[in-house]
């Protein structure tokens, strides 16, 4: 039977009469939590942005036909030379087609898989951009613009024009911004492209593409799959790459292995392709949490100190309370509730300050060539961070209050009263 009204009343009076110490203790928590929220929102925002930069445009599984030398040379099939050592010099890659055999049925098959969000065909080819007598080498990728925009956020990287325009305009091209600058081209102009095997095709520029990676923007352009097939003079089942986007990125590895085995193609999963990226994210998160926890531990020691001092100051009061019928538990509750009140007030203020600072950072302009669609610093305000921050405030104040209040519980009133 704990009489909380009385206990909280006493705790409140103690805190209010020592308002300076109370506020300092609470401010410790406030700064700890505030900086945790700010830091974690900002850091995860940046992480998310950097991840998006690479991962959003990267397929979870990339399927294509690798050009490689045959692993088995004909001589190894010849039984009579089985016991001898055979060395073949100057092994050349096997002449094979770039296109994926039976690409369209494979796409249908992948789309039917319940883990797959979409499987998009692409044609990758080398071309020349022709401006007068100058020929610039480059890459042209044939895509389904609307689907690419939907699954790989392509719109984010189209600085002028749109994916719809590319889809709907016949013989159109989405030109890399670097090429456009080199050749002084505007939207609506025509650019002539020439595939490696000859011929010149004029294409209408419907937009500019800027990935943020300058080297890429100086060579890369996009066109409709049909347009590219026409330029190359290939049939409409000519597909060189299939990009697969999954619902769950964790499924990338097993599915890519399955595709490799089943179709005898090369399938690279996102984790293998971007392993270093995950490491960076993990380390940034680690730093964020290490700094935040350090701040909160410091705040916790502040509370511990102040409560300890308070208990020394209040020895007489504790003795009196015990003599007049308050039990050790009651006294412990009084000091525990003081710690928890400090933690609660400091924690809530910290959340507000963190929210304020994070919102402030979110309004600071942040413009960079590399990220055409980002205008301000990225902030990730996940409610979970606020829950974690608040729980940590309560937990650390609980621990900081526990030891001093335990001591208060054990104080022998007789010693104090007789000691005077």
């Amino acid at each position: 039977m704990v009489n909380w009204k009385v206990i909280l009343g006493i705790a409140k009076t103690h805190l209010l009469t020592k308002i300076k110490q109370t506020s300092i203790a609470a401010l410790g928590v406030t700064f700890g939590i505030g900086s945790y929220i700010t830091l974690v929102c900002f850091m995860t925002g940046l992480n998310g942005m950097l991840d998006d930069l690479i991962l959003n445009q990267t397929p979870h599984i990339h399927v294509y036909n690798e050009i490689e030398p045959s692993k088995k040379q004909p001589i190894s099939l010849y039984n009579e030379l089985k016991e001898s050592i055979n060395i073949v010099h100057s092994v050349k890659p096997k002449l094979s087609q770039k296109k994926i055999h039976n690409a369209l049925p494979i796409i249908d098959y992948l789309e039917a898989n319940k883990d797959v969000r979409g499987a998009l065909p692409q044609i990758k080819t080398q071309i020349f951009y022709i401006a007068g007598s100058i020929e610039l080498g480059g890459n042209l990728t044939g895509i389904n613009p609307i689907d690419e925009a939907k699954l790989f956020n392509m719109e984010d990287y189209i600085v002028e024009g749109s994916a719809e325009a590319l889809q709907n305009t016949d013989n159109s091209i989405l030109l890399g911004i670097g090429i456009a600058n080199k050749m002084a081209l505007k939207v609506g102009d025509r650019v002539q492209v020439s595939p490696i095997n000859g011929g010149i095709f004029p294409l209408k520029i419907v937009g500019f593409y800027q990935s943020g990676i300058a080297d890429l923007d100086a060579i890369q352009s996009f066109a409709n799959i049909k347009t590219v097939q026409r330029i190359l003079g290939k049939a409409n089942n000519y597909i060189t790459d299939i990009n697969v986007k999954l619902y769950d990125i964790e499924q990338a590895i097993p599915l890519s292995e399955k595709i490799e085995k089943q179709f005898n193609l090369t399938a690279i999963d996102i984790k293998t392709a971007n392993a270093q990226f995950e490491t960076g994210t993990t380390i940034r998160n680690l730093i964020t949490y290490a700094v935040s926890i350090t701040l909160l531990i410091v705040a916790g020691f502040g509370i511990y100190n102040i409560l300890n001092m308070l208990i020394y100051e209040k020895m007489n009061d504790i003795a009196i309370l015990k003599a007049t019928g308050f039990s050790g538990k009651d006294v412990q509750h009084i000091f525990m509730s003081q710690a928890m009140i400090i933690g609660f007030v400091g924690g809530v203020l910290g959340l507000l300050i963190g929210l304020g600072l994070a919102s402030l950072i979110a309004t600071i302009p942040f413009q960079t060539e590399a990220l055409p669609t980002v205008e301000t610093y990225p902030i990730n305000m996940n409610p979970l961070f606020f829950v974690i921050g608040f729980s940590f405030a309560m937990l650390s104040t609980f621990l900081a209050g526990y030891l001093p209040s335990k001591k208060a519980k054990k104080i022998d009133p007789v010693k104090i009263i007789r000691g005077q």
Binding site: T13, D317, A323, T324, G325, I417
Partner: protein, 224 residues
């Protein structure tokens, strides 16, 4: 007359720094409405005895009865409750909670007991203050009143739960003769008019002489 407090064969040892037999086979009773004082030289164990009787010190041998109920060996929670309900304390030093108002100080034990509503407790507290002629101090901070007044506030606090017995450890030891006289008169009146039992440890011969019974102690024993 019924017995409020009874001690049977109380023995107490101090173990530090050396084993020392402080209280040797103490037996006595305090009856209802009795005003008793304990006298003795410094170090004879009279305060030690009082703190055992007060239930705050549980490290002793023997048996202690409060209102005919054995309280030796009860757990601390229950002892706190008994102290709260049945025993009022007045110390040599006034021991008020200095951050609280006088009224809050007086009300605190009753709030802890939580047998009455806030309004009833407040009413009772003002009654007690009136009885001791200090109701004008009710709203003051405890740290802002004089020593004699503090002791009267402490008495009001001791009375708030209508205890069976009031215990005092040199309650007048720190007061001038006028205030000491005043406190004695209050005790006397409580004993005579309210039928309250009182047990007071004192050095003051004049004070003790005026009580109903003097328990003289020496070397850890009751002499008479």
């Amino acid at each position: 007359m019924s017995i409020v407090l009874e001690a049977k064969h109380i023995n107490k040892y101090f173990k530090k720094p050396v084993l020392f037999h402080v209280l040797k086979d103490i037996n006595f009773q305090v009856k209802e409405g009795e005003f008793a004082s304990i006298m003795g030289k410094s170090g004879c164990g009279k305060s030690t005895l009082l703190y055992i009787l007060s239930t705050m010190d549980t490290d002793y041998e023997g048996e202690l009865f409060l209102n005919d109920a054995l309280i030796t060996g009860q757990d601390r929670e229950h002892l706190s409750y008994l102290r709260n309900k049945h025993i009022g304390f007045v110390f040599q030093f006034h021991y008020l909670l200095s951050e609280f108002s006088v009224l809050e100080n007086v009300m605190l034990p009753a709030k802890k007991l939580a047998e009455k509503s806030y309004q009833e407790i407040e009413h009772d507290a003002i009654e007690k203050l009136k009885m001791l002629n200090i109701e004008h101090l009710a709203k003051k901070r405890a740290s802002q009143v004089s020593g004699g007044e503090k002791q009267r506030i402490a008495i009001a606090r001791a009375l708030i739960n209508n205890p069976s017995i009031i215990m005092g450890d040199e309650p007048t030891g720190n007061l001038d003769s006028h205030n000491a006289e005043n406190v004695f008169n209050i005790f006397k009146r409580l004993s005579e008019e309210e039928g309250l039992s009182l047990l007071v440890v004192t050095h003051d011969k004049d004070f003790a002489d005026k009580t109903d019974r003097i328990i003289q102690m020496g070397d850890g024993k009751i002499l008479q």
